[in-house]
């Protein structure tokens, strides 16, 4: 599978993160999105007329929407990530995948405005993003009351992966996450997933790694 990627794109990171978590190797092709505008080159437009990233190319298929790519990878390699085959869970996954697009259009657009000089009414974008983040916080606090840690139930699905990057990077767009305790705990659960990888601005849970090197008192004792 060939994956056309941009390191700072949260939508590309969705796919890289999910591939890492399920152990799928991707053949990465770096595209110079900013400042090179390579995604609007003839070669890239031939692949994706919308001129967006990411793009996934596999045997006979070209996918240009990150949530569709997540669906494809999950169905291909790790169908448990699509959620249980029950009406409620399937619908919840679909609901939050659509919500992920709202995050892209609000928090993602605010970040693109602040970091990549993209056009947009920043106050309106932040207000929309705040509405979305409050909705997410309320849903995740309700999930905690049911004893669940994730959006669609008691285990992570592609919906969590789809929503995670734009939420985690919201502070880049002037949207602090301090007011959202349940979002913080949800991100903590995702950052602790086996196989989790980072992107610039999103770090792993360091507490899961062993302490690097002994403490001073241990060194002194060993020498004594």
């Amino acid at each position: 599978m060939i994956f056309y990627d941009y390191i700072l794109s949260p939508s590309c990171y969705r796919v890289r993160l999910f591939a890492a978590v399920i152990g799928r190797r991707l053949d990465l092709r770096a595209v110079d999105f900013h400042p090179g505008q390579e995604h609007r080159s003839d070669a890239m437009l031939a692949l994706n007329p919308a001129g967006t990233l990411p793009v996934l190319k596999d045997d006979g298929i070209v996918l240009t929407e990150s949530t569709a790519i997540l669906t494809y990878l999950a169905a291909h390699d790790a169908p448990a990530w699509l959620g249980d085959d029950t009406p409620v869970m399937r619908a919840r996954v679909a609901q939050w995948l659509a919500f992920a697009q709202r995050l892209t259009d609000s928090a993602g657009a605010a970040r693109a405005h602040d970091m990549l000089l993209a056009p947009g009414d920043i106050d309106a974008l932040r207000a929309e993003a705040t509405t979305a983040l409050r909705e997410l916080e309320a849903a995740l606090s309700a999930a905690r009351r049911r004893g669940e840690s994730f959006l669609a139930g008691n285990r992570p699905t592609i919906a969590d992966i789809a929503c995670f990057p734009h939420v985690a990077l919201a502070p880049d767009g002037g949207l602090p996450l301090d007011p959202y305790p349940s979002i913080r705990l949800w991100m903590r659960a995702l950052r602790g997933l086996e196989g989790f990888i980072e992107m610039p601005g999103i770090h792993r849970l360091h507490e899961l790694l062993p302490e690097p090197g002994p403490m001073p008192d241990v060194i002194r004792k060993e020498r004594a």
Binding site: R134, A138, S141, A142, R145, R146, D178, P179, Y180, P181, S182, R184, L185, R188, H203, L205, H206, E207, E211, P212, G213, P214, M215, P216, I219, R220
Partner: protein, 212 residues
């Protein structure tokens, strides 16, 4: 009701071995819980490079900075600098520490030594913390009360509302619900809290327009 203590978070939102951002007046706090369950409130600033310690990580009884891994233990004392593993850090490298205590599922913080323990609300437990873009006075009025501790009714049940004034005409509402309330009651309470926030924010916006 008045107290030297400020409600800064709910206990349930800061599980063992984790850190969260908080506020005491104008001061940014890192509120964190050690692996053994001890709660602490420190200045949210690593003495090394100024990174927020609330972004840091907890191993055992220490909070470490995410930037260069400097580790701080009891009393905010720096106990470990990973780049100099053989060095015992000087006593001068210390994070300012604030008073922190838990009561009725609320994390209370204070500057200096407060008189007495933080207030208890028997029969209630922490429910949700919400950030509200309205001054504390407007929020209290929307609640139909006054002050920073309001015992009343919201939606389906009795509640205790702890209002924390924050800088910039913003408030935090730390809401306590009756212990043992069922899921349907709590879902309805959550919706009522969201509605209260909309009301308070609309009133704050209107007041702002009138003064402008």
């Amino acid at each position: 009701m008045t107290t030297d203590w400020t409600p800064a978070a709910l206990s349930r939102d800061i599980p063992a071995a984790s850190a969260a951002p908080g506020q005491l007046g104008e001061t940014d706090l890192a509120i964190w819980r050690s692996a053994s369950g001890r709660i602490a409130a420190w200045s949210d600033r690593c003495p090394h490079r100024g990174m927020r310690l609330s972004h840091g990580f907890v191993r055992g009884e220490r909070l470490s900075c995410i930037y260069h891994g400097w580790g701080y233990g009891e009393g905010g004392q720096c106990v470990r600098i990973p780049a100099h593993p053989e060095l015992t850090p000087p006593e001068a490298i210390k994070v300012p520490v604030f008073a922190a205590a838990e009561a009725s599922g609320v994390v209370w913080v204070a500057d200096g030594t407060p008189a007495g323990a933080p207030p208890e609300f028997p029969g209630f437990e922490g429910f949700r913390s919400l950030r509200i873009h309205a001054p504390a006075t407007v929020l209290a009025r929307a609640f139909g009360g006054a002050g920073h501790v309001i015992e009343g009714t919201l939606g389906p049940c009795a509640v205790v509302a702890l209002i924390q004034p924050l800088p910039g005409n913003v408030s935090a509402l730390h809401l306590l619900a009756p212990e043992g309330a069922g899921p349907a009651t709590l879902d309805a309470l959550s919706l009522a809290a969201e509605a209260l926030r909309r009301t308070a924010e609309a009133q704050a916006e209107q007041a702002e327009e009138e003064t402008a």
